[in-house]
């Protein structure tokens, strides 16, 4: 049983709490399991506890209460085995700017206990379009290039799990594209990727599962599709050929909103729910004699779901 858990969950956070010396409760009884090989997006507003959680898993912040396992290894008792499996790309551009790209790569691989492998480092640098800059001093690279170096460093020791803490903050379109291409490649190799991002549409695009954290508590962890299905609202928007002043009596049984110009009727519903009366609404419209010029449906975005969940938790 234990072995099975180990194999399925690369990260296992159990009842984790953390209070800083200032008295700030950064995490409160967090339980989180990350499956091997998945792309997991951890979303939350500023100060929600995302970075604290990542920092504890990576060994940068002491565990308060609870336990964290990486690949089945405790991050305190078996810190060597646990940390070997992790690569971290921090939020800040924290790097020795006086070092050279190649040297810093060799350093990263070595410090994680791996023998030198120039061919592998070359592959990583090429994948991140850094190969031409390998002899450059990091100081002279642009902000985007420095971020690439940080990603390359995190991958230098072939980690099983990669943490990307706000990887696309202040990053240009080209790097963002390169990065997601690399993430896809890593996923194909079986690397688990955990990312925090403010760009929720990115999470919506690439993540398999979403976790939402606020005030140090995990509000929800869900498969992205399930989440969208469960919490995603839909809207049926009907464009009328001729404006109306009030909603006809045939439609009284339904909650509809009439647009200010009198030319749109909007009906909110949830997909696959018994409260979904789209067919009945359309039949009633037909009975009322209203002529339609267009019919549209809209689905709420992950961002809207995120905002409403965070609002609710306040």
């Amino acid at each position: 049983m234990e072995t099975q858990v180990m194999e399925n969950h690369i990260i296992d956070v159990r009842n984790l709490s953390k209070k800083y010396p200032s008295g700030f409760q950064a995490l409160n009884q967090v339980n989180l399991q990350i499956k091997r090989g998945e792309i997991f997006a951890l979303l939350g507003p500023n100060g929600a506890g995302k970075t604290t959680l990542i920092s504890i898993i990576c060994g940068l912040v002491n565990v308060g209460e609870g336990q964290v396992l990486v690949g089945g290894y405790d991050v305190i008792k078996d810190y060597r085995q646990a940390r070997k499996q992790i690569g971290l790309v921090p939020q800040e551009l924290a790097i020795d700017v006086f070092a050279f790209v190649w040297n810093t790569m060799v350093f990263s691989r070595g410090v994680f206990g791996k023998p030198r492998d120039d061919a592998y480092l070359e592959e990583i640098l090429k994948a991140l379009s850094l190969w031409d800059k390998r002899h450059a001093k990091i100081q002279f690279l642009s902000g985007g290039m420095k971020r690439r170096v940080l990603i390359a460093k995190a991958l230098a020791h072939e980690p099983e799990v990669l943490f990307l803490d706000e990887p696309t903050a202040g990053v240009d379109v080209e790097l963002r594209r390169d990065m997601w291409r690399l993430v896809e490649k890593l996923r194909q190799r079986g690397t688990t990727i955990i990312l925090t991002t403010h760009y929720i549409e990115e999470a919506e695009e690439i993540a398999d599962r979403i976790g939402i954290i606020n005030h140090g508590e995990i509000l929800l962890v869900e498969n992205k599709r399930e989440l969208m299905k469960k919490l995603g609202r839909k809207q049926l928007i009907l464009q009328l050929q001729h404006p109306i002043k009030q909603i006809p009596s045939e439609l009284n049984g339904f909650v509809l909103q009439l647009g200010e110009d009198g030319k749109t009727l909007t009906y909110d519903y949830v997909d696959n729910q018994p409260t979904n009366h789209v067919t009945e609404v359309l039949a009633a419209i037909h009975r009322s004699g209203i002529e339609l010029s267009d019919v549209q449906t809209k689905q709420s975005t992950l961002e809207q779901i995120f905002v409403s969940l965070v609002e609710e938790s306040k």
Binding site: N62, A94, V111
Partner: protein, 253 residues
């Protein structure tokens, strides 16, 4: 033991010095040469011998100690403070390395630099004065112990300091004055009796004395006392570093 990590930290720290050869090597060698020219050749020629050794030769061990103490302290403190300041320390702290391995890497590199520097100063001294080393193995032992001990002090300062200014306070305001007053340029027997006693509270006296004994066979204090003192410092700094990593003081929250 994560040997790859020790090697990575050690080599990267040595590379850091080779990136600034003027500051790391040329500057201390030049300033020591100036001491030799002024005190050894110019003033020294007018001085009498001390314990059968010419003044120029007498000051060699003291000058090496002066340079080694300040360089070890500032090199090691800078080595750990820089990544702390830039935030790049996250990588070492999140790596599968023990506190012991981190210290061996950083302190080992700082100590190696100081030993190389000492050797360069020793070679430079040959240009100005004639000297010989009576007990070369003891000389190496004292040198290595001093370099390691004061690199540890530097490591502690680098971890504790929360600003560039504080980083310089101990090397400039404590280590340098103690080194100057610790018998670098004179034998403490040349001082009035009262000041001889006061000087014995200066820990550097024991280091310079032992080191000078390895050159010329004469010392201000006994060899055993010198060894005990340097070993005591080594143990105190080791315990302090152990405590830093155990509690995460100024490293982790």
């Amino acid at each position: 033991m994560n040997w790859y990590a020790i090697k990575a930290i050690y080599l990267s720290e040595l590379h850091r010095s080779w990136r600034t050869p003027l500051q790391s090597i040329a500057s201390p060698v030049l300033s020591t040469s100036l001491y030799f020219i002024v005190f050894g050749s110019a003033i020294g020629s007018a001085m009498t011998e001390i314990g059968g050794v010419s003044y120029g030769a007498f000051i060699i061990p003291g000058l090496i100690m002066l340079m080694v103490l300040t360089e070890s302290t500032s090199n090691a403190s800078f080595g750990i403070y820089m990544p702390k300041w830039s935030g790049a320390i996250y990588e070492v702290l999140s790596a599968p390395v023990s506190a012991f391995e981190i210290v061996v890497g950083y302190v080992g590199a700082a100590a190696t630099k100081s030993i190389i520097l000492a050797m360069l100063i020793l070679l430079t001294a040959k240009l100005f004065v004639d000297y010989s080393i009576l007990h070369p193995l003891w000389m190496m032992l004292f040198l290595v112990l001093t370099c390691v001990t004061f690199s540890m002090l530097g490591f502690i300062l680098g971890v504790v300091a929360d600003g560039f200014e504080k980083l310089q306070v101990i090397p400039l305001m404590v280590v340098t004055p103690l080194a100057f007053l610790g018998g670098t340029f004179y034998s403490i027997s040349m001082l009035p009796e009262f000041w001889q006693k006061v000087t014995l509270f200066n820990p550097v006296v024991y280091l310079v004395s032992g080191f000078r004994w390895s050159f010329y066979g004469t010392a201000d204090v006994s060899l055993t006392l010198s060894l005990v003192m340097i070993s005591t410092f080594l143990i105190i700094f080791m315990v302090f570093i152990w405590w830093i990593f155990k509690t995460g003081y100024k490293v982790k929250i």
